[in-house]
């Protein structure tokens, strides 16, 4: 199976590094750590699991190609994916400011037309824009079936996938025949969430994504990474959504600490009036 995995790197706010907004109402990412979008790391892990025998993760059965739309300095994210086992990388040179989900999806369609993968495997959302749309858009542009928010994937030979989608209130099971587009949710990297046709029933992976060994990091420097121009792939691509300003969320008024369960109940009744 040949799998194309689009990956993005994101500026990640956490509890220690707060996002700032500049005086001209733009997002100021100084001090934030650039990380691969977590869902894309999960998608790479899923692609690796689908193209191997879980008992021998050194040998690939098929090919995993990672692709990124982004600037040169983001190439380290592609190298990191190569180090964990992806075979090749493509970087579409673009400024983040010229991209939106639709431009990325149109670019991906052009790449798929050339690369002809069996599966496009994406993250369900990027945690900077929180958009959750590229998979669905590219599925439509390709005329392929989509299975979004996958928490489990079982492959049936190289022809079909059984996908358990995490939906509100439960799990929706779909069977898609390839070629198809699948986006992955958080629990796709649980030990038994993904099973390729080459992996024994019941095989359990370590929880989470695999780490690259030092040797693999060195070897990844020699794996192919080609660069293309966005304007060659999608001439005249324009964004369909424009951001004019950003603001910090309204702060919540500081609360209080109560000393006992009795005091809590009393406050909820008398002060907050929610009981």
């Amino acid at each position: 199976m040949k799998i194309l995995v689009p990956i993005k790197r994101v500026a990640d706010p956490d509890n220690a590094n707060k996002l700032k907004i500049s005086s001209d109402a733009k997002v100021d990412t100084t001090g934030l750590e650039w990380k691969p979008n977590p869902f894309d790391e999960y998608a790479v892990e899923t692609a690796l699991r689908l193209t191997e025998n879980g008992a021998n993760t050194k040998a690939r059965v098929g090919e995993v190609v990672v692709v990124m739309f982004g600037p040169k300095e983001a190439e380290s994210t592609l190298r990191a994916a190569l180090a964990t086992g992806a075979d090749r990388a493509i970087r579409i040179d673009a400024n983040d400011a010229d991209l939106d989900g639709d431009v990325v999806a149109q670019g991906l369609k052009a790449i798929v037309d050339k690369e002809k993968p069996d599966l496009v495997l994406l993250g369900k959302q990027t945690v900077d824009s929180d958009s959750n749309q590229v998979a669905q858009l590219v599925a439509e542009y390709l005329g392929w079936p989509q299975a979004t928010f996958a928490a489990t994937i079982r492959s049936e030979g190289d022809k079909a996938l059984h996908v358990g989608r995490e939906v509100d209130g439960g799990t929706l099971h779909l069977k898609v025949t390839l070629p198809a587009v699948v986006s992955v949710d958080l629990r796709i990297v649980a030990p038994k969430s993904v099973r390729s046709a080459h992996t024994a029933e019941g095989h359990a992976y370590p929880d989470g994504v695999r780490f690259a060994a030092l040797m693999a990091i060195m070897a990844a420097k020699k794996k192919p990474l080609v660069e293309e121009k966005l304007s060659d792939l999608v001439p005249g691509a324009t964004r369909k959504i424009e951001y004019t300003s950003f603001a910090l969320p309204p702060a919540r008024a500081a609360g209080i600490k109560v000393k006992s369960v009795q005091e809590l109940v009393q406050k909820l009744k008398a002060e907050a009036k929610v009981l």
């Binding site: 929180d130 959750n132 799990t171």
Partner: protein, 321 residues
């Protein structure tokens, strides 16, 4: 140009999901005439549930092949209606259904898509949207640059519309048939937990638990939830560890909730969790670590061992009932 909004309803087990009423609220805020599309097997019967909300029309697409939601079977009809009836704004609530369906519709009709918006401003017929980004750490203001626009709206920010009386005209619309891609996708089953509790999106009170609860998750939280008629939620860590079922996850990438009262019990308060519950009216945190970040958003914090505090809380509430 006069705008005209199409609200896509969501059906579940033959009924219109209440979450649909958030998209109706959005349509009312836009202020243009709007129609509600009820699509799915049994839609003709369910349509009556949404005739009193001020829609110009309730459009009904009822077809036996729409018994289970598969995007490739639903999207073509929406796209066909946008063209034939000249809608220019297409709105759906950002449930897992809306998030799956809306972008595919947008791509079909060449529209830009504003996902998961928390607010809309109408200025001289031009719409701008406010939407949370970076796990709720920033709000972006954005506009869609194409003439047609598709929007999904947050249930936590658009309160369910109240009935306004009257009766919209019901009109049957043809099923446009499936996408070619529908031949390559098959609905297998929908597993849903037998949940007798209120839905997280609609609950007045939510009792959420984190990793700290371990295997005692249900044993500790259920008595409190039962007593308060609350929905039960969970952190990602509790879901990943199997203490709670995945559909209970609250957060950036789980359900986004805004109840009157939210209990965060044994939850540290990572930004991804806060992104899903910061909009709650009153937040109570119970955590044994006085420095846990959850206390920065809690209205009432109790530093205590949850395994003693929660049963005590249940006893206290019963005593005062």
């Amino acid at each position: 140009m006069m705008s005209h909004t199409l609200v896509i309803a969501e059906m579940h087990e033959g009924k219109v999901r209440k979450s649909t009423l958030s998209a109706v609220t959005f349509a009312r805020q836009v202020g243009a005439p709007f129609a509600i599309l009820v699509i799915g097997a049994g839609a003709a019967k369910a349509a009556a549930e949404v005739v009193a909300f001020g829609a110009q029309k309730v459009l009904v697409c009822d077809d036996a092949s729409l018994g289970n939601y598969v995007c490739e079977r639903f999207a073509p009809t929406v796209a066909a209606l946008v063209k034939s009836l000249a809608f220019d704004i297409i709105a759906v609530t950002a449930s897992s259904y809306g998030k799956d369906l809306a972008p595919r519709v947008a791509a079909k009709i060449g529209a830009g898509y504003a996902p998961d918006v928390s607010g809309v401003v109408v200025d001289g017929g031009k719409l701008t949207y406010k939407r949370p980004m970076y796990a709720g750490n920033a709000f972006g203001t954005c506009a869609v640059t194409t003439p047609l626009q598709v929007v999904s709206v947050r249930q936590s920010d658009f309160a369910a519309a109240e009935a306004s009386g009257g009766a919209s005209e019901i009109e049957a619309v043809p099923y446009a048939g499936p996408d070619a891609a529908a031949a390559h996708v098959e609905f297998v089953s929908l597993e849903h937990g037998k949940n007798e509790r209120p839905d997280l999106g609609e609950a007045r009170v939510i009792v959420s638990g984190g990793r700290a609860l371990k295997e005692q998750f249900a044993a500790v939280l259920d008595p409190l939830a039962n007593l308060l008629g609350a929905a039960v939620g969970a952190s990602r860590a509790a879901c990943d560890a199997g203490y709670a079922s995945p559909e209970l996850q609250v957060g950036q990438t789980g359900r986004v909730v805004a109840p009157k009262l939210y209990f965060a019990i044994g939850i540290s308060g990572a930004i991804q969790h806060l992104a899903g519950m910061k909009g709650s009216k009153v937040i109570v945190a119970i955590n044994k670590d006085a420095d846990a970040p959850i206390f920065q958003v809690a209205d009432y914090g109790l530093v205590a061992d949850l395994f003693t505090a929660v049963p005590e809380l249940v006893t206290e509430l019963k005593a005062q009932a």
